[in-house]
Symmetry: C2
Subunit: 109 residues, 2 copies
Amino acid sequence: MGKQATEMLKGTLEGIVLAILSTRAAYGYEITAWLREQGFSDIAEGTIYALLVRIEQRGLVDVAKVPSEKGPPRKVYSLNAQGREYLDEFWRTWAFLAERLEQLREGSN
Amino acid sequence: MGKQATEMLKGTLEGIVLAILSTRAAYGYEITAWLREQGFSDIAEGTIYALLVRIEQRGLVDVAKVPSEKGPPRKVYSLNAQGREYLDEFWRTWAFLAERLEQLREGSN
DNA sequence: CGCAGGTATTTGGTGTTGCTAAGTACCGGT
DNA sequence: ACCGGTACTTAGCAACACCAAATACCTGCG
């Protein structure tokens, strides 16, 4: 993917991660791997970790330290009530944006 | 709209403006007004102008100075070949992102 | 035993972007 | 002469994704 993706991810990546966490608890390494599988081939390792720290500081997720058999302890994140609320708002904003863009795309063809 | 929109607009706003310019030439003030009508209520005046300068410097648009009856001369922008190419790539990136998000939204409900 | 390699997180610095706020410039009507 | 609408510019700021390097833990191989 090109550089356009980098800028477009700003703001949406956060929603993506929250959406993932809304279905199941997960830790950084796992999320990064999953995103890569989904085609976000060039999402930087560090990006996800920084994002997770951010949403933790905002109180959108709860964290549990879980020992791993293969490395240092994992920080497992799970969405809390506040995070769920925030995610709802994310979806509303996304829906609005997607609608406008869909209209524009149709109009320009 | 909330702060989420601000971050989500990064990258997409550029595509939006390019899409507008792909249907017709336009100038900054006009574009801002149109966006506000479309519900982008809080897009800052200066944001659009800065964006236009950027895409001009990247060679995505051509510019013509046209005198106005009601104020200082307008800078009318129109999409050129390179801009059209860039817009195509924008749509591809957007489509990819929208698809992933749609999947996520379905999955979490 | 040492050391490479996969797992897992942290940290510091960079570039791009949209926002804020203030300013400049041109014009018509009161 | 001045206010308000039109139209563009500029400087500084905050947030976010990226990059690079470092740290920590464990297994397996020579």
